[in-house]
Amino acid sequence: MIVRQFELVDFRNYVQASLSLTDHITAVVGDNGQGKTNLVEAIGWMATMSSFRGAPNEALVRVGTDQAIVRAHVEHEDGRMLLIECEINRSGRNRVLVNKQRLQRSRDLLGVLRVSVFAPDDLNLIKGGPGIRRDFLDETLVALRPKYDTDLRDLDRIVRQRNVLLKQVGGRLSADVAFTLDVWDSKLAATGEVIGTARAELLRDLVPLVSAAYRDLVDVDVRIDMVYDPVWRRTGLAVALADNRSDDVRRQLSLIGPHRDEIDIALAAMPARTHASQGEQRSLALAIKLAAHRLVTDRIGSPPLLVLDDVLSELDPRRAAALLQHLPAGQVVLTSADVLPPDAGAATVLRIVRGTVVS
């Protein structure tokens, strides 16, 4: 799959913009605040139907307008051309059209266009809270199999319903409410097991790739562990929920399940969050993202569009060079505020000034 062209209308600070991508590296340069990351956000939106900055829809629509449009002209392996159009509405549902045909379920877009975004914030994979690591694993799952999107959204909904019920219970569980809570527990257990198993299997395949990518970047062989071993997976979630019920009722919160899990990351057998240097953390975060990108490439059979948003400036020159040298095959969009390093190898350099592609 090759993305030939992107078009933005009324997206963030863009009135209208169009950019053609090359087969390999397309560089986008511009001073900070001109709209480089907005562009990346639009590209990412088409892959995940959400902002990688976590921004709500209304923040994506240009001030004074009701609707943003993002379009991509995509060429498939078999030569088919796809025109993907997303209408992001300030209020109301988004609409997605593929070759001018409206998708009945917008979320069927997931899996049509895959994008890996690397950004300076990826450091939070190591330094941030467990939610960031869970989200990363879950997004990778959806990139591998879009059906997990439904499971994840169901899980989120079930947990929210169960939490509200626990609040309504107010610490005292009658037999009637216990009967209703049993139903939510069964739903949570069924969906939770699906997600737990998927995460564990993903991590099993991912860790060797992380080690390899880390070696590529820093040229030292060091042991990397990423451990996903929530206590509930030892007994099964149904049993764990039953065992933990009195705690949940007392605290009025769903305290166990995939929504609370941690992924422990260790470098040389020490917790990376507390024991690795800033430079090691940055390389490790990058290695994890590269590994996921490679895994998706292997499984899907074609590389996602890789976006490096302001990543090079965060790395020391040696690691930046190592990253460029080990860039996976496929299309890359590389944004930078600075002049690009000579070995970036970009076939096209586009310049962004105040939401306009100057080229």
């Binding site: 209020s91 379920r105 909904r157 309504q168 009967f179 209703t180 939510w184 739903k187």
Partner: protein, 201 residues
């Protein structure tokens, strides 16, 4: 801010805007469409609303919309008295009827279990359902709630409640758009889902 429209116009826009699925823009468009109508057309619409509201009530047995104590389905002796299809809303009956695959009767829950919306089992017509099962000829229950989290939870709740009574309980097959509403499923898909229903165990 000064009023943009005359008070009567604004009132109509506001009232239309409170209807499900109608945003502020549609409300405006419909309002100006209505204002252009010949008086008798507008009166016919207004009367249709008033008449429907005055005449239509809920069937005392199944909570379908009805003009009499019993709806036309409950009152029809040719309907299969042994099978009951449980749906969330009266509009779902129309979706199931369109398939032509179901000849039994219905029970409308008037919602689905959803703590977020303040709806528990006691807010639904579940007590009434159990009463029907206790004194009726029903042998099979088909759970036709929506294929989303709340609909699935409601189906599971009902299955656990009803199974001990010794009735056959089945759930419409998956294959419906996941997370969707029954009313948006096309006849063919819903028909197949009914046909492929599976016994809940």
């Amino acid at each position: 801010m000064a009023a943009v429209y005359a008070q009567a116009v604004q009132t109509l826009i506001d009232e239309l805007g409170r209807l499900p699925g109608i945003g502020p823009k549609s409300a405006q468009r419909i309002t100006f469409h209505l204002l252009k109508l010949p008086t008798e057309d507008a009166e016919r619409l207004a009367n249709a609303i008033i008449t429907a509201k005055a005449r239509v009530r809920f069937c005392e047995q199944c909570f379908n919309v009805s003009e009499d104590e019993l709806c036309s389905i409950c009152a029809d002796p040719r309907r299969d008295q042994t099978v009951l299809c449980v749906v969330e809303e009266a509009r779902d009956i129309i979706a199931v009827e369109r398939t032509g695959e179901f000849r039994g009767r219905y029970h409308v829950l008037m919602g689905a279990i959803s703590p977020i919306d303040g709806v528990g089992p006691e807010q639904l017509k579940i007590r009434e359902l159990l009463r029907r099962l206790g004194s009726d000829t029903v042998q099979e229950i088909i759970l036709c709630t929506n294929p989303n989290v709340e609909g699935e939870a409601t189906a599971m709740y009902l299955a656990r409640l009803i199974k001990p009574l010794g009735l056959t309980v089945s759930r419409i097959a998956s294959g419906l758009p996941v997370g969707g509403d029954l009313e948006y499923a096309d006849e063919l898909t819903l028909g197949r889902a009914l046909e492929g229903r599976r016994i809940v165990d």
